[in-house]
């Protein structure tokens, strides 16, 4: 990873963390420690930022990060059923990555798209108006 662009810059911790997570899909602690040394960042400071934002994770994530909404609207419109079928068929559990390393499930409170309820995000894409069947076919089409 090229880190030269951060040298002589100020207030770049968030950008750096996003950069790492963008490339690696998570933040490997050993890599971050190495970068800290090279850029002379106090580890305590970067750790403070890292733990403040929920978007960062230091645990390895699956190829697909599934954010399944269980906010009020989605809950009422059947998000539970969608979750149950995914649990059964693909072995997804909240906060965990599947054994094959393909999926990580994150239950979230709202994706801001209640008009599409029930809704989930897979990596950067939204999928709305879900039914258990529709969810399965979406998963089937993932490479």
């Amino acid at each position: 990873m090229k880190i030269d662009k951060y040298k002589n810059k100020k207030g770049y911790y968030l950008e750096l963390l996003q950069d790492i997570q963008g490339r690696k899909n998570y933040i490997p602690v050993s890599l971050l420690k190495k970068i800290c040394k090279q850029l002379d960042i106090p580890e305590s400071k970067i750790f403070g930022v890292l733990t403040f934002y929920s978007q960062f994770t230091t645990e390895k994530r699956g190829k697909y990060l599934v954010k399944l909404c269980d906010g009020t609207a989605c809950h009422v419109k059947g998000a539970r059923e969608v979750k149950r079928i995914l649990e059964r068929k693909y072995g997804l559990t909240n906060g965990k990555t599947t054994a094959d390393g393909r999926f990580t499930l994150q239950e979230v409170a709202c994706l801001g798209s209640c008009f599409l309820a029930p809704v989930m995000m897979i990596n950067q894409r939204y999928f709305g108006n879900l039914t258990p069947e529709k969810a399965l076919s979406i998963f089937k089409n993932l490479k």
Binding site: P42, F47, F52, S54
Partner: protein, 898 residues
């Protein structure tokens, strides 16, 4: 500018920009505050200090509210009191109510405020901090259950110490103080300065050493001065049952303004070490090195007999003494008096020879006085440009580094010049890395640029410098390009440095061993002095020349004439009038007329058979002096060696007689710190068994020699110093009870001198010195391709007689190590932590190597503290011709893999 403020309907004066809380505290108006610390930036986290300000819609935090116009403040309205009580109640709801077992009880702010606001139990029930302790070994307990998130520890770590070892982590209720990746403090760059403990308002951060030793009201508290470095921090020692429980920083009126470093805060365990010398010891068997205990009477008689014998047989100059920069002024005064009055020789010196002799030699010639010209506070508050050259100040004088850090955050420009990329380089405006031993070249180049670009201060030169034209002519032939070649610094860069230094309002140059410990040490200081004289950056608050002194009382030991060429107060031995003055005062028959020998000369004289008897008070030359095997051979040749110390040092092992002395916590007297501040040292605990304060030993010895030294207390000696030493004349024991004073202080009305040379130099006019560049004595060649440079580390002190006996310090840096550049390690296929052999023309040592980025390539850095891998086995004993200081900073070595 002054402004009127009404607080609770009473009128007070305030400065614009002052906060309400500052004004209130100044006038003893109590406003509670948990996150406020006067030395740190305002933070406004705890909200306890809220007050009502007329015209503001809601209560404001008085710690961060700056006064810019006339205001009316109410601090105790019913509404404010109710809100504060609620806030306290919230804090207490998330705090264990375990004051009855808490170490902090009696000293805890939260407990105090709960008492004052009458909160018997918290009003809220809910989730609580979990019991959780994190690793702060070897010194700090981090008890997270008690943390109230005031953030003082985080701020002190960043703003003052600059360690950045901790920060806030996580979010919401889960917020905690974290070190990087939740690891131990030790692995996270913590300096263990303990200042986080100093500021913690509750019991969340505590000293491991004080655990279960009792609580604040059980301790006797004595104020004294830290025994370690030359900053002279004021400390408060808590004592119970004749043992030191803990040490805290003195906040007000002290040099350190409430801060300490790892050694001052935690390094006191040695006082109670079982290894302390407790009885006089006589060598029984020279070969086996066995000692037996004898009485003081026998010991003193033996010295009288042997010294008299030697003097009779070989003359007075066959005896010599090494005084100690760790002992008090009074003791050093008596030591030189003993040698001058009773033995009648000037063969007295001490370790200042090995540190700042060049600074004293050079500055006395150019300015007329060798001491630091400014106060440490001026660095913090007045200097606009700080040139730090050859001083790894964050390792050697941490509290001074805090002051520099504060200056930088105030906007002062820091220029770091050092072959090693030291910690302070990180916050420097400019960091330049000249090649080892090229200082004279670099400084001359800066002077050349100052002349060339007309950055000189003409008015200052006309009024206060005497040989400007001669210097200017000499400079004509100086070539900047050659300087660039030798120093490795571009002319462009040198121009930037020269410009900032010359044009800043107040510039100060701070230096230490990196300048002095060279065979060109004196020349280096001449070159620095030239810069100050050319630009007029001297003789004003914040502008001057600051040689940082190493040991707690090295300034004092010099002041007291523990030098072969000076009586106390830098009064020349070779001046007949001065000699007459001392002769009369001491009632001596005669005094030796010639200058005596310096430290390294004493050892070569022993080799040549001229010196036969040596008296060492609190020094350990067998680790600290250059080319140890040479010193060792010398010491073996002595007919009689007396060592007076608190421990059986490497040197004491060779002694014929060892005298047990009291350490600085066990006696009274005065220390003079690096900024010429004379401070009172107080007795905190009793010395072990028969150990005695050095002044008592010397007094008793003088009496055995038949001299009537009638000192009833140490303060009688101080009074004698007042009479004999003009610069100390006004620093009387009575005044020292209430305040510390900076010399020169000419009489009892004089308030001491913070800045030297205002308006005039003691030498009259300042002298510019034309100094030619000379190469170091020994440079790398094919056979010895590496440069060895020696120095110190934060957690050790000198020859480790004290620090090795502090368990925590030993855990942090007990093992000898050297630093090498990571690229060199790669090239030589060495790993971090592998053992290597370092070999010079004098000897070899085996040592662990650590990877470093601060040390340049082809260089080895070895701290000189460790006797088991003593760097000074490798160094050479060739001296600066003027100051007689050895070149510790440069010699050639080769590295072998093991």
């Amino acid at each position: 500018m002054s402004i009127k403020v009404f607080i609770d309907n009473t009128e007070y004066d305030a400065e614009i920009g002052q906060t309400i809380l500052e004004v209130a505290r100044k006038h003893l108006i109590e406003i509670p505050a948990l996150c406020w610390q006067p030395q740190l930036l305002p933070y406004g986290a705890c909200r306890l200090c809220i007050v009502e300000v007329k015209g503001e819609r809601r209560p404001v935090t008085s710690c961060s509210y700056q006064i810019v116009k006339e205001i009316e403040v109410l601090t105790k309205t019913a509404e404010i009191l109710r809100m504060r009580k609620n806030l306290l109640s919230l804090l207490l709801s998330n705090h264990p109510a375990d004051c009855m077992t808490c170490e902090k009880s009696g000293d805890c702010l939260l407990e105090k405020y709960a008492y004052e606001y009458g909160i018997r139990k918290p009003a809220f029930l809910g989730e609580r901090n979990k019991v959780c302790e994190k690793d702060g070994k070897p010194f700090i307990i981090r008890d997270y259950e008690k943390c109230i998130m005031c953030g003082k520890c985080v701020r002190v770590c960043e703003e003052i110490a600059g360690a950045n070892a901790i920060d806030f982590g996580w979010r919401g209720f889960g917020v905690q103080i974290v070190s990087g990746f939740d690891g131990s403090l030790k692995d996270n760059g913590c300096f263990f300065c303990g200042n986080c403990i100093e500021v913690c308002p509750v019991g969340a951060l505590r000293e491991i050493s004080a655990e279960k030793k009792g609580r604040t009201w059980e301790f006797r508290k004595i104020n004294t001065i830290c025994p370690y470095c030359g900053v002279g921090c004021g400390i408060q020692v808590s004592v119970k049952d004749n043992s030191i429980v803990k040490i805290n920083a003195l906040p007000d009126g002290s040099v350190n303004k409430g801060w300490l470093c790892v050694k001052g805060k935690f390094g006191f365990e040695y006082v109670k070490s079982p290894d302390r010398l407790k009885k006089p010891l006589l060598k029984k068997d020279k070969k086996a090195g066995k000692f037996m205990e004898i009485s003081w009477d026998e010991a003193l008689d033996l010295i009288v007999n042997r010294f008299s014998e030697i003097r009779k047989k070989y003359g007075a100059n066959a005896l010599a003494g090494l005084a100690s920069a760790k002992c008090t002024n009074e003791e050093n005064y008596l030591f030189q008096k003993f040698f001058r009055q009773i033995i009648r020789t000037n063969n007295i010196d001490h370790c200042a020879r090995l540190c700042h002799a060049p600074s004293v030699a050079a500055l006395s010639q150019t300015l007329g006085s060798g001491a630091m010209t400014n106060s440490l506070d001026e660095i913090e508050n007045c200097s606009d440009c700080i040139v730090l050259i050859g001083s790894n100040v964050s390792e050697t004088q941490p509290v001074t580094s805090y002051k520099i850090r504060k200056a930088v955050s105030r906007g002062a420009k820091l220029i770091v010049i050092d072959p090693q990329e030291i910690e302070m380089a990180k916050i420097a405006e400019i960091y330049i890395q000249p090649w080892f031993g090229s200082d004279v070249m670099l400084l001359n180049a800066l002077a050349k640029i100052i002349l060339q670009e007309n950055l000189i201060n003409k008015e200052f030169i006309e009024q206060r410098v005497e040989n400007f034209e001669e210097y200017q002519n000499w400079m004509n032939n100086f070539s900047l390009l050659e300087a660039e070649k030798i120093t490795g610094i571009s002319v462009e860069m040198m121009k930037r440095v020269a410009k900032i230094y010359a044009t800043s309002k107040a510039s100060i140059i701070i230096w230490a061993m990196g300048i002095t410990q060279h065979i060109t040490g004196t020349d280096n200081v001449f070159a620095l002095s030239n810069l100050a004289l050319l630009t007029g950056q001297i003789g004003r608050p914040g502008a001057g020349l600051a040689p940082l002194r190493g040991q707690n009382n090295v300034q004092g030991a010099c002041d007291m004439g523990a030098l072969p060429d000076f009586f106390p107060g830098y009064q020349k031995v070779e001046n007949p009038e001065i000699r007459e003055k001392f002769k009369n005062f001491w009632n001596a028959a005669c005094l030796a007329e010639k200058n005596g020998l310096t430290v390294v000369e004493i050892f070569s004289s022993i080799h040549q058979g001229q010196i036969k008897g040596l008296y060492i008070m609190g020094e350990n030359p067998l680790v600290s002096d250059p080319d140890i095997s040479y010193v060792q051979e010398a010491i073996k040749k002595l007919e009689f060696l007396v060592v007076q110390d608190i421990f059986l040092t490497q040197t004491a092992k060779y002694a014929d007689l060892i005298l047990p002395s009291a350490c600085s916590f066990e006696k009274e007297g005065t220390f003079t710190n690096t900024e010429r501040m004379v401070q009172k040292v107080n007795r905190c605990v009793e010395p072990p068994q028969d150990a005695k304060p050095d002044w008592e030993i010397l007094k008793n010895l003088a009496k055995r020699f038949g001299f009537d030294w009638d000192y009833h207390s140490i303060w009688d000696i101080t009074r004698e110093i007042n009479k004999l030493v003009p610069i100390y004349a006004g620093i009387t024991p009575e005044r020292l009870l209430y305040a510390s004073l900076q010399w020169p202080c000419s009489d009892e009305k004089h308030s001491g001198t913070s800045t030297l040379h205002i308006g005039k130099f003691p030498a009259g006019k300042g002298k510019l010195k034309c100094v030619e560049y000379r190469y170091p004595y020994e440079l790398p060649d094919e056979k010895y391709p590496f440069i060895l440079t020696t120095g110190r580390v934060l957690t050790e002190y000198h020859t480790r007689t004290m620090t090795a006996r502090v368990d925590g310090l030993d855990q942090l840096s007990g093992e000898p190590f050297c630093l090498m550049n990571e690229n060199d390690l790669k090239k030589m296929k060495l790993k971090h932590g592998s053992k290597i052999k370092v070999i010079s023309r004098r000897g070899e040592i085996e040592i662990k190597v650590k990877k470093s980025r601060s040390v340049p390539e082809k260089t080895v850095f070895i701290p000189f503290h460790y006797a088991e891998a003593a760097a000074n086995i490798l160094t050479h004993h060739n001296l600066d011709p003027v100051a007689k200081i050895p070149e510790y900073k440069i010699c050639a070595v080769r590295i072998e893999k093991l």
